[in-house]
């Protein structure tokens, strides 16, 4: 193969590379404006379609439920969060000897019951005499 032929072949290859490496500018140059506008319309209609879908009750319910779960989770975390400065006391390691609890004797319970009843009766003595005054009605009917 002669150098002239290789040179022309090289030029052809270079031209082809130029063509393949910069396809978009050439495509942009070649796409008409109407097709660009229709593409935009397609994307907005898709967005509108997506919005319509989101307005469906199923998706609204799912969204509300998801947000509720997140809020509850955050609330639980906030409640259970401990301040960093809080120092937990060490547990008391003393072992106390068991002491039997004083159980109230039946007589004591009876006395307490009588005391409660007495207190109730004394409270009941506090009604005022004015609460039961007779009505002052006008029965002087004359014509």
């Amino acid at each position: 193969m002669k150098e002239q032929d290789t040179g022309s072949m090289k030029e052809n290859l270079i031209r082809q590379e130029d063509v393949t490496s910069d396809p978009e500018p050439s495509l942009e140059k070649n796409v008409p404006a109407s097709k660009f506008i229709s593409d935009q319309r397609v994307s907005t209609s898709r967005a509108q379609g997506l919005l319509k879908q989101l307005k469906r009750p199923k998706y609204i319910t799912l969204t509300v439920a998801f947000i509720s779960i997140i809020v509850i989770l955050v609330a639980f975390v906030a409640v259970s969060a401990r301040p960093k400065t809080q120092v937990l006391p060490e547990p008391n390691t003393e072992i106390a000897t068991p002491v039997p609890e004083k159980t109230p004797k039946p007589t004591n319970i009876q006395i307490q019951s009588e005391l409660d009843k007495y207190n109730q009766k004394v409270e009941g003595l506090k009604s005022k005499s004015r609460d039961f005054s007779p009505p002052l009605l006008d029965l002087d009917i004359k014509f």
Binding site: K121, K126, S129, F132, I141
Partner: protein, 273 residues
Amino acid sequence: MPKSKLIVNSSLFIVILTFASLLTVSGYLSTVHSVTPLEQARNDYSFQLSNYSQSRERYLTAQANYLSFKTAVAKNEAFAKTKDYFLQVHNVYTAYLLLIEERTNVFDWSFSSYKKDDYIAQIRTEDSYVKNSQAKAEKVQTLEEIVPLAAELKLHLEKTTIPVTSRVLATSDLAQIEDTYYLFRVTGENIDNFVKDKITDTNRPLYLNWSTEISGIKSKLDTQINISRQTLAQTNFSSTSDTQHSLIYNQTQESRSQLERARSLLAEILDFI
């Protein structure tokens, strides 16, 4: 699910939830704020008094119109309003007598020196009188018939009904003090029996002083209650005012103070055993 159906179901759910919540809250409120028979009687009495005030205004207006114009229409209107007013007076006294009866029901008369049934019978006798008078009032058809009936009712209320209610109230006050005093004696004895074997030598002077204090209250109450009984027996409940009842009530005030003082005193010794 279609959107409209979802909205309908959600609305129904919210309505049911609201209704259930209201039922729960009202149930809770009714248990917390339950009304005693005495309170109910007092509410009824207040209600009738309120109706009486309104009825009296209408009666006075109709009376003034009739006295001014003297027409048959004015007279008929005066008759209607006067009859209504007169019947309302009966309602007030019926409610008042029920209130007095409920007052006697707030304590146990078993440990009193007075018999409850005697006083209930007196109240019910007066109630029967008022109801009979009301039945007569309902049958009147002219203005002229109302005037003597009103005068008759007024006389009976002043001479009989109000003195009876005044006596019943005074007796109820004293009987209730007697009932409370009885419980004071019983409780004091039980506490003394419980404590006396458990008191230590260190606390013995305290116990003895406590015992004398309790005995002192008992002695004062004995004296005061006896005086009140005598006063009650000698009181002539003839006045239409509340004077006699107030007299007895004020006299028994010292007894109330002693019984109130005993509340903390009775329990005090239990802290030292």
